[in-house]
Amino acid sequence: MNSIILRVGTQYLCGILVLFSLYMLIRGHNEPGGGFIGGLIGSTGFVLFALACGTADARNALKVMPQNIAMAGLGIALLAGIYAAIFGDALFTGQWLFINETPEDKGIPISTVLFFDIGVYLVVFGSILSIVFAMEEEI
């Protein structure tokens, strides 16, 4: 597939998909979305990119080996779980911090749960891409 229109179009589409996947990841705690879905959307963007421009370009654009992304995600998820244990709770208990909290408004929530979800995102993203890239290079 060597169409210039497809290649240019896909590059923009990939960016939009990755951006959208991050949006789905962040909103996941209250609305449909989350790490699994976000990771799937993000990886779809790069799968399309690899189809249109070749895996070499896709790997260059990604800069990091997808396997490493997946491993990093697993590590982040684990750390997010261990964090609770350090503070005496059971493993994987959510720890929350509300920035600018007022009695009426909870402010900006930051939590280990979010980091755990980011880990899930990276695992799904990295795993799918490592399989798809390897398959495409094989053929």
């Binding site: 996941g28 705690h29 209250n30 609305e31 449909p32 979305g33 989350g34 790490g35 699994f36 879905i37 799937l40 959307i41 990886s43 779809t44 799968v47 399309l48 189809l51 396997q67 997946a70 491993m71 995600g73 697993l74 998820a77 684990l78 779980g81 493993l91 994987f92 959510g94 929350w96 909870k106 929530p109 939590s111 749960v113 755990f116 979800d117 880990g119 899930v120 695992v123 799904v124 990295g126 795993s127 799918i128 490592s130 399989i131 798809v132 390897a134 398959m135 495409e136 290079e137 094989e138 053929i139």
Partner: protein, 757 residues
């Protein structure tokens, strides 16, 4: 010591890596020693930490006479062996690994003898299995080393599985996993209907660990390990773990006929059998290995009894054996290190060159042979007194013990006398020289202790023997006195007979060897049997792999679905759980349309002869399923489903380029597959209908609905469950995802050489 010239070029130690473990062991030894007076006063110490409170599992440790004796032997001999190996393996490239293994093993062993909780004890038991596997297999560049390590791992590991089953049975039968609570209910335990299964399972664990016949064959092979490891594992630790556990269980389980006969017969047979084999060995280390088997057999034999003499004999011989055996192993290591050989027929005349080694060897061997005034003599006298106190058939067992002791006498001569004093005139592989002090410290200290305790038996009596007997029998009233001269009595006469018979065997052992060889060759070979057993196991695995996993994807899927059909359909038929027809009155056009869409897609996938069409039809099925989720308002699941479908289409499209065309004539129809597919579909449908017949338990759903926002600050319940309530499950799942991805990557990469990146 004249090691200066030789060690000028060779490293003498391994720096801090070699010294820190020695320090750890010494600190532990000192700590246990400081607790000894309290234990000698009759106290016991108990420490408890909660581990898994929800299952009643705690990390509880108990220090009484029995555990203290073991703990002192383990940490004391451990310190000497670690100091010794620092020189023995000086400059070895993998010394750090060795030190780690040996220290871990020592700590696991200490945990084992101190644990009061059954589960905790089992965990330490397995830790010793694993670390001893690593130690025996330290010389992993030889086939023999790997085989020996694996054999030890399999035999003791299999026993440990039985032991775990026994522990769980014991814990549930007695309502507690704490040994200190179980063992006080001895009568209830012995009368329990589960007593026999528990006993068999626990003995399976201890007999394999302590290498009792017929599980003895792994121990001599384990001599593939470096000599310091053998000295440690086969004197005071690894193989004594089984003996320890039998002693620990003794107050609660002994006294029954089955306990008495099993332990007595297995112990006596192992002792005689092993000491006959020991005489046959020409390799010094192998000879010692077989005498270790003999000692383990003797200890087991005494644990079968309940008399005060037997228990005192057990406690004394335990210490005696650990002292002289560790010492002799280390001496053999010195000889090997210095001359490059361990062959008894080659070695000779080392007495003048290695005087300190000869001194240690002589003391240890005199103790082993049972000469006064050594502790070994007292141990032997007590053994004879203990064996004569056996209730039934004492003379058969006494004769067995006498024979075994006489053989030990002969082996002591072979190991400690001949290498130093005989003249062979055969050139040694290396010019021998005396070992450095770090290697002499262990054997000399241990051998001198054997003599010291012989002259002052009260020291040992008060500090270790009496408390151990108290652990076994509940009081020290039955503990017999350790003394060198007990008057002219039956044990003394038997001792004299032992010396006479042993001397005769020693003088004639070269002539006996061929006869013994023929005897051994004629009897069943357990080591070869082991090889046949493993070969059979591998052949079976290969056979069933050929049937179930032939490498054809279609067969895999067939096997999987056939199993599902048999499991689900069979269960439903057997249980007669056929559901009633469902109520279809509230069905809508929307539902019907979805069902038709999905069924049509599935059917088309199965019958089409075009791959593109099949793929598209499969996509229809997936989207139909996603729409079901939308209809029943599960947007998260629907989105995931849609995205996965998209990715599957992409993946299949990539793979499609490589696949051959389908059979266009449509002859490739497989009726069997169709029947299987239909059967699986039907049975799954029936199961779902049956499930719907029981009212759905909504408590969990309600709990999540109520607590999701106030406790987890999230309104999307699916996501909150995934990342908060059930985060541990999710973590397991993403770990599986990563493993799957890495495996797929590895598979794809190994089919062809890697292209340029």
């Amino acid at each position: 010591m004249n090691d200066d010239t030789a060690t000028a070029t060779k490293p003498t130690g391994n720096g801090l890596v070699g010294l820190i473990p020695v320090g750890i062991a010494l600190l532990l030894f000192g700590w246990f020693l400081s607790l000894a007076p309290a234990i000698a006063d009759g106290q016991t110490l108990r420490v408890v930490w909660d581990w898994v409170p929800s299952l009643g599992i705690s990390m509880s440790f108990l220090l009484d006479g029995l555990s203290l004796t073991f703990a002192l032997l383990i940490s004391g001999i451990g310190a000497l062996v670690l100091l010794y190996s620092n020189t023995y393996l000086a400059g070895h490239p993998q010394f750090a690994r060795f030190a780690l293994f040996l220290t871990s093993f020592m700590l696991a062993m200490l945990g084992l003898v101190l644990a009061d909780n059954l589960i905790g004890l089992f965990v330490f038991w397995e830790l010793t299995t694993i670390t001893s596997y690593l130690l025996i297999g330290f010389g992993h560049d030889t086939t023999k080393g790997r085989r020996s390590a694996l054999q030890a791992l399999f035999v003791t590991g299999a026993g440990a599985l039985a032991l775990l089953a026994g522990f769980i049975l014991l814990g549930f039968s007695m309502g507690s996993f704490e040994l200190s609570e179980i063992l006080v209910q001895a009568d209830a335990l012995k009368a329990h209907e589960m007593y026999l299964p528990i006993l068999i399972l626990i003995l399976a664990g201890t007999f394999t660990k302590s290498a009792q016949f017929p599980f003895h064959f792994w121990l001599p092979n384990a001599m593939a390990a470096p000599t310091p490891v053998s000295a440690f594992l086969h004197s005071a630790t690894m193989v004594k773990a089984g003996v320890y556990l039998m002693a620990r269980m003794h107050p609660g389980m002994s006294g029954t006929d089955v306990w008495f006969w099993t332990l007595t017969i297995a112990g006596a047979f192992t002792a005689v059998f092993a000491s006959i084999l020991a005489l046959r060995q020409t390799d010094l280390k192998q000879a010692l290995a077989y005498t270790t088997l003999m000692a383990l057999g003797t200890l087991t034999l005494f644990l079968g009894q309940t008399s005060g003499y037997a228990m005192t004999a057990f406690a004394t011989f335990l210490v005696v054996h650990s002292l002289y055996k560790a010492s002799l192993f280390l001496v053999v290591g010195c000889i090997d290190h210095s001359t490059g050989t361990r062959e008894a027929d080659v070695l000779g005349g080392l007495g003048r060159i290695m005087p300190f080694t000869a001194f240690a060897a002589g003391l240890a061997a005199l103790s082993m042979a049972g000469f006064p005034p050594f502790l070994g003599f007292i141990g032997k006298e007590l053994k004879y007194a203990g064996i004569l106190a056996i209730g039934s058939e004492p003379f058969i067992f006494a004769a067995a013990l006498l024979l075994a002791n006489a053989l030990m006498f002969a082996v002591a001569g072979i190991v400690a006398l001949r290498p130093f004093w005989q003249r062979t005139g055969i050139a040694l592989p290396r010019k021998p020289q005396e070992a450095p002090w770090t290697m002499l410290a262990g054997p000399v200290i241990l051998a001198v202790l054997g003599a010291l305790f012989g002259v002052y038996p009260d020291l040992l009596q008060v500090s270790l023997v009496d408390p151990t007997v108290k652990s076994l029998l509940g009081s020290i009233e039955d503990s017999k006195e350790l003394k060198l001269w007990a008057g002219v009595n039956m044990p003394l006469i038997m001792s004299i007979a032992t010396v006479a018979l042993g001397a005769a065997l020693y003088l004639g052992h070269k002539r006996l060897r061929p006869a013994l060889g023929r005897l051994v060759d004629a009897s069943p070979q357990f080591d070869n049997g082991w090889d046949r057993f493993l070969a059979g196991l591998k052949a079976f695995a290969a056979w069933q792999t050929r049937i179930i996993q032939p490498g054809i994807l279609r067969r895999y899927i067939f096997a999987t679905f056939a199993t599902v059909l048999i499991a689900i359909g069979g269960t439903m038929l057997l249980r007669n759980a056929m559901p009633a027809l469902p109520d279809l009155s509230d069905i809508t056009f929307q539902n019907v349309a979805l069902v038709v869409l999905i069924s049509a897609g599935a059917l088309l996938t199965a019958v089409t002869s075009s791959r593109i069409a099949a793929m598209a039809a499969l996509g229809v099925v997936g989207i139909g399923v996603a729409m079901i989720f939308i209809v029943f308002s599960a947007p998260d699941v629907a989105i995931t489903q849609l995205l996965v479908e998209t990715l599957v289409v992409v993946l299949v499209a990539v793979a499609l380029l490589r696949l051959p065309v389908l059979d266009e004539n449509g002859r490739d129809r497989r009726p069997l597959d169709a029947i299987l597919a239909g059967g699986v579909g039907l049975s799954v449908t029936l199961v779902l209908l049956a499930v719907l017949e029981t009212p759905l338990d909504l408590r969990l759903t309600e709990y999540f609905e109520v607590t999701s926002w106030p406790e987890a600050f999230g309104r999307n319940i699916v996501n909150v469950i995934l990342v908060d309530f059930r985060a541990l499950d999710t973590f397991g799942e993403i770990a599986v995802v990563v493993i799957a991805a890495l495996s797929a990557y590895a598979l794809l990469r190994t089919t062809h050489p890697r292209k340029d990146p």
